[in-house]
Amino acid sequence: MLKSSSSLTAHNSQLGTHSERAEIFNKDFDRTTWHDETLYFVRQKRDKAAFQINDWELLRETASQIKNNVLSNMHDYLVQFEENAIKNNIKVHWAADAKEHNAIVYGIISEYYKGDIPADTFKGMVKSKSMLTEECHMNEFLAEKGIEVIDTDLGERIVQLAEEPPSHIVMPCIHWKKEEIGELFHKHLGTEKGNKDPQYLTEAARQHLRDKFLTRPIALTGVNFAVAETGEFVVCTNEGNADMGAHLADVHIASMGFEKIIPQKKHLGVFLRLLARSATGQPITTYSSHFKKPREGQQMHIVIVDNGRSTQLGREDFRNSLKCIRCAACFNTCPVYRRSGGHSYHNAVAGPIGSILAPNLDMRANADLPFASTLCGSCTNVCPVKIDIHLQLYKWRQVLVQEGYTPASKTLAMKGMSTVLSNPSIFKFSGKVGRMLMDKLPFLVNNSMNPWYKQREMPEPPEESFREWYKKNRK
């Protein structure tokens, strides 16, 4: 397991590329297998839930078409949403990038305290799951300003106490074992030493976080869907943490990437049928909360964030990635994600979808991610909004090579490969040499220098090539 001292460093690609980090993760063979199986179990639950809907494929196609329409009419929907939200007494803010998002949130907090933020611990904020604030590194920013952010989703609270970023967008601590969580809670929440019972640990977190909900005046939530037609937004949770935070706080801030917009309320029917079934195999999340107006005496803010999304919208080959509803079905099915873990992706959103979103944010830092795939296409097959994820991974590879962001060794190897494969006599000769070496000097390939040897045995070399066999037998 990759542990780091702060979520900033764990997201920093300087610490290693996907394959370097995956190698660390893979050192613990049993844990890797457990991680793999746990996620595939969730994928199977998704299948079971999907098969119970007669029109599942039609539902996916419809969701995809709604999102295509959204991308093509984004400007007008956002203007319409803003107009309606303002009518509902919601204050709307626009942030061009992460920095501006964080500054806006800080500004709202500062204004609430009339510029005089108290030095006690109750000035802080409770936050329910928001991958956008991870993307913006908001917690770290506010911590520097002396404002404590308490993550309230159980999984997020666990990784927060451990000073790690989430490793999965729906199940943030999927890489943690209950014994380790028991130990962590013993240290931070004073639970009994050695108690690893999930029921007991969840109860301890309930009591611990209930106190935070009751004492923090500011709550921040993410946004699953924002409805242009009505100016309302929907937040989905199973735990009820978004609601506990928002309905008790004096100030509710909701942060959203602008692509979360949908045209009309009736479209929620399509997305709410798909989201939880795709994510965890549940028929719907426990709470699908529709926030339309602040309650009496409360302030409600929405921060609409761009942070590279408008650039992605302009990339014809990659704009479909903005259709994502963050269900993480592509994570759970991905053979590379399952055996490399979320932290190997050094990005707030990991997995296949993260690998097509990240290069848009920073091509150099994330040039390794589109290569963290076998291109098997399973991600595309489960995506509820039909994003062509594996094709985009393939297309990003072309772009990254052309722009010179791939390592020289890879380019050299590819060029060598191209020479061998396009020249029959060299191909014949190198095949022969290869078979001979594997047979006579196996240590030349069965060693840690050969990436194909990791976690697997090399095959027995065949005695002859197909060409040799064919020549002998064609008569």
Partner: protein
């Protein structure tokens, strides 16, 4: 130029040519025995469903199953005359043990119940209470979410929620635990 204008102009410049919205009328054709499906799904996600003939039966159930000294709050006069909690500071509901309210309607395919703040009494109430009971008129169960949004239509509300079962989490090794932050248990009375 402000960030708003900047973002919007970049979007306008970069968005593709207009594509049409699909037809939703072809969806939601599933045929269910509504009461049976609703019961089966809600019990599958940790809720309890009881068919009752009147409010007296509900009262008997509550008396038999919950401690006498529990703080019970309700929006229904059959259960409590006290309405002060609805206008009190939401934090004052932290010791509420049992909330009983009436849902607008329910959805068979996923066990969800639609509530707006007028049914809740207070927005935080169905979340902060330890246990939650919701009365549903059997005839209001709809097959899927498409009919559900048809039913909501353009009705106005400040806050609304589709609530399906008790609060839960599986964040610790995928073990399902009921009672994460919201209600630990949900019982639905079908009348």
């Amino acid at each position: 130029m402000s960030s708003r204008e900047n973002i919007l102009s970049r979007i306008k410049q970069n968005q593709p040519e207009l594509l049409p919205l699909p037809d939703l009328l072809v969806l939601g054709t599933e045929q269910y025995d509504l009461v049976q499906k609703f019961t089966e799904i809600l019990e599958g996600i940790g809720g309890k469903v009881l068919q009752v003939s009147d409010y007296e039966e509900i009262k008997k159930y509550i008396i038999a199953n919950y401690p006498v000294n529990a703080r019970v709050i309700s929006t229904l006069t059959e259960f409590s005359e006290n309405k002060d909690w609805q206008t009190a500071d939401p934090h004052s509901l932290k010791d509420a043990d049992f909330l009983i309210i009436k849902g607008q309607f329910a959805v068979a395919e996923n066990g969800a119940i639609w509530l707006t703040e007028s049914e809740m009494g207070q927005r935080v109430a169905p979340f902060i209470t330890q246990y939650l009971a919701i009365v549903i008129d059997k005839s209001t169960i709809l097959p899927t979410m498409h009919q559900a949004y048809g039913q909501i239509g353009m009705a106005d509300y400040g806050f609304g929620v589709f609530l399906a079962g008790p609060s839960k989490t599986a964040d610790i090794e995928q073990s399902l635990v009921l009672g994460a932050h919201g209600a630990r248990g949900l019982v639905v009375f079908l009348v």
